[in-house]
C-alpha cells in the first residue's frame, strides 16, 4: 500500500472515530436529503414550526425542535430520522 493510500485510510478512520464521538451526543431528528421529496407533511405536523421547506427539502431548526418525533411518524418517505 502506497504512502498516499495509507494517508487516506488513516484520514477516513479518524473521521469515523471523531464522527462517532460527535454523533453519540446528537439527540434531535434530522433529515435525510436523499429521501426527502419536499411534500411538506412534516411542516404541518410540527407543533413548534421548527420545520420549513427550503429548495424542495425539509430543514429542521434545532433550536425550535422539542423532539416530539411527530414529524418522524408523519413522514411516509422515511426521510426524517431520529437517533435510535
Amino acid at each position: 500500500m502506497s504512502t498516499q493510500k495509507k494517508r487516506i485510510v488513516i484520514v477516513m478512520a479518524v473521521i469515523i472515530l471523531i464522527g462517532s464521538l460527535f454523533s453519540a451526543i446528537r439527540t434531535l431528528p434530522f433529515v435525510d436529503k436523499y429521501s426527502c421529496v419536499g411534500c411538506g407533511d412534516c411542516t404541518k405536523s410540527c407543533p413548534t414550526g421548527a420545520i420549513s421547506i427550503t429548495d424542495g427539502r425539509a430543514v429542521i431548526t434545532d433550536s425550535l425542535c422539542i423532539n416530539c418525533k411527530l414529524c418522524v411518524k408523519t413522514c411516509t418517505y422515511q426521510a426524517i430520522r431520529v437517533p435510535k
Partner: protein, 430 residues
C-alpha cells in the same frame, strides 16, 4: 488448464475493474478532497454535520455472471455563520455489468454549495462536477440531425448555478442562472464525413418566477424559463407558465392542496400539440391519530395546440401512502407502510400504464437491532421482495445487510429481471 485460465481471466477482470475505479477517483480526486476537508473542518472545531453512506451489492442473476455494484456517498454541511452555510457532497457510483437494460457505469459527482440568507434574501451558488468512465457508448441526442449514426461517450460535465430569492410578506421573487459544459467523445457509427463532431457542448439556462399569496390560502404564480444551446439553436427553448393553487386545513386532520399550472413552450422540435401543457395536482393528506399518517395524490398532464382546440391526455399519476408507527418504539422508527403508485390510462407513447403496490416494515428487536421487510409488486414488470437487518452501533450510525429477490412478470425465464441481490452497507452521520 482451462479452469486455471478461467481463474486468471477472472482475476484479470477484477484487477481491471479496480484499476478503473481507482482511475476514476484519481481523475477527479474529489473523494480525497472531501475527506481531507471534513477532517480539516472537524479538527478546526467548526460546527459541521457529515455523512458517509456506502453500499456494496452483489447480484446473482439467472444464468449470467455475477454483477457487482458500489455506491458511496460522502457529504458535509458546515454553518460558517448565522447567515451562511457550505455544503460538500461526493457520490461515487460503479456498476459492473449490463443489468435489465442498464449499461455498465462509473461516475463520480462532486458538489459544492454555498448559501447566504439575510434580510429576506437567499442567494445560493453551487458547482457540480461529474467525471464519467463508462465502458460503453451512451446514446445522447446532442445532434438531432445525426442521432442515428453518432454515438457519444461522456467524459466530464461541469455545471455552475446561481439562484436568488426574495421574500416580502405575500410576495416571493426568485430567479436562477445555470451554465453547463459537457465534454464527450463522439464516434461515427457509419462513415459520414459531412458531420462535425462536437466534443464540447455548452448550455445556458435562466429563469424567473413571481409567487403571490392571496387571501383564503390561495396563491398564484407566473414565470419564464429560457434555455440556450451555444453553437446551435435547435435546442433553444422558451417556456412561460402561469398557475394557481389553494391549500386548506380541514377539521385539523386533513390537508387539501390543489393546483393547476399551464406551460407554454416554444421549441423547434416540439410538435404543435405539445406547445401548451397543463399540469393539475390534487393532494389530500391526513393524520387521524399521531401514529397513523398518509396521503392520496393525483397528478394529470394534458396538452393542447391552441386555446379552444381539443385537449389531449398525456399522463395520469395516482399515489397513496398509509403508515402506522408502532407505539412501543419510543424513537418512532418501527412502522408498517402500505401504498400504491399507479399510472392508469396514459398515452402509451408518452408513459406506458403501470401500477405498483408496495408494503414496507421495520421493527425494533432491541439492543440496536432492527428487522425490516419490503414488498413491491409491479404486475407489468416485476416483483421485488427484500429483507433487511440493521444494527445501530451508535444512535445515528448503522451497518446493514439486505437480500432482495426480483421476479420477472414478463414471462421469459431467462429474463435478467429475475435475480437476487445481496447488499452490505453502512450509514454514518456525524
Amino acid at each position: 488448464m482451462q479452469t486455471m485460465r478461467g481463474v486468471c481471466a477472472g482475476m484479470s477482470t477484477k484487477r481491471s475493474i479496480l484499476k478503473r475505479v481507482h482511475s476514476a477517483s484519481r481523475a477527479h480526486v474529489s473523494t480525497r478532497v472531501v475527506a481531507c476537508m471534513v477532517f480539516m473542518l472537524l479538527t478546526m472545531r467548526v460546527y459541521a454535520q457529515a455523512f458517509i453512506d456506502q453500499d456494496f451489492r452483489m447480484y446473482d442473476t439467472n444464468g449470467s455472471n455475477d454483477i457487482a455494484q458500489l455506491v458511496q456517498k460522502l457529504g458535509m454541511t458546515v454553518d460558517l455563520s448565522t447567515h451562511q452555510s457550505l455544503e460538500l457532497k461526493d457520490d461515487l457510483v460503479w456498476s459492473d455489468y449490463i443489468l435489465t437494460g442498464n449499461k455498465q457505469k462509473l461516475y463520480n459527482r462532486l458538489a459544492l454549495l454555498h448559501r447566504w440568507q439575510n434580510y429576506g434574501f437567499t442567494v445560493r451558488s453551487s458547482y457540480f462536477g461529474t467525471a464519467f468512465d463508462n465502458a460503453e457508448m451512451t446514446d445522447i441526442n446532442l445532434n438531432p440531425n445525426s442521432v442515428n449514426f453518432i454515438k457519444y461517450r461522456n467524459r466530464f460535465m461541469h455545471q455552475a448555478n446561481l439562484t436568488g430569492k426574495y421574500e416580502l410578506g405575500f410576495l416571493a421573487l426568485s430567479s436562477y442562472a445555470y451554465g453547463r459544459r459537457m465534454y464527450s467523445d463522439p464516434t461515427l457509427v457509419y462513415s459520414e464525413t459531412s458531420v462535425v463532431l462536437e466534443k464540447i457542448n455548452d448550455d445556458l439556462y435562466a429563469g424567473a418566477e413571481v409567487v403571490m399569496k392571496l387571501p383564503q390560502d390561495i396563491s398564484c404564480k407566473i414565470g419564464v424559463d429560457l434555455k440556450q444551446h451555444v453553437g446551435g439553436s435547435y435546442f433553444d427553448r422558451t417556456t412561460t407558465h402561469v398557475g394557481i393553487g389553494i391549500e386548506k386545513d380541514i377539521l385539523s386532520v386533513f390537508n387539501l392542496f390543489a393546483a393547476t399550472t399551464i406551460y407554454n413552450s416554444n421549441q423547434p422540435d416540439y410538435r404543435d400539440i405539445l406547445t401548451n401543457q397543463v399540469v393539475s395536482e390534487l393532494r389530500l393528506g391526513h393524520r387521524i391519530v399521531p401514529e397513523l399518517a398518509g396521503f392520496v395524490s393525483y397528478i394529470n398532464r394534458s396538452c393542447f395546440a391552441d386555446p379552444g382546440e381539443d385537449i389531449y391526455l398525456l399522463a395520469n399519476y395516482l399515489r397513496a401512502h398509509l403508515q402506522y408507527s408502532m407505539p412501543y418504539d419510543l424513537s418512532a422508527c418501527s412502522y408498517i407502510l402500505a401504498g400504491v403508485k399507479s399510472r392508469p390510462e396514459n398515452l402509451d407513447a408518452f408513459h406506458p400504464s403501470n401500477t405498483a403496490y408496495f408494503l414496507e416494515t421495520d421493527f425494533k428487536l432491541g439492543c440496536g437491532l432492527y428487522l425490516g421487510g419490503n414488498m413491491n409488486l409491479m404486475k407489468e414488470y416485476r416483483d421485488e421482495y427484500s429483507g433487511k437487518l440493521t444494527y445501530h452501533f451508535n444512535p445515528i450510525s448503522e451497518v446493514h445487510v439486505q437480500m432482495t429477490q426480483y421476479d420477472s412478470n414478463q414471462g421469459d425465464p431467462a429474463n435478467p429481471y429475475r435475480h437476487t441481490s445481496y447488499t452490505i452497507g453502512t450509514q454514518m452521520r456525524f
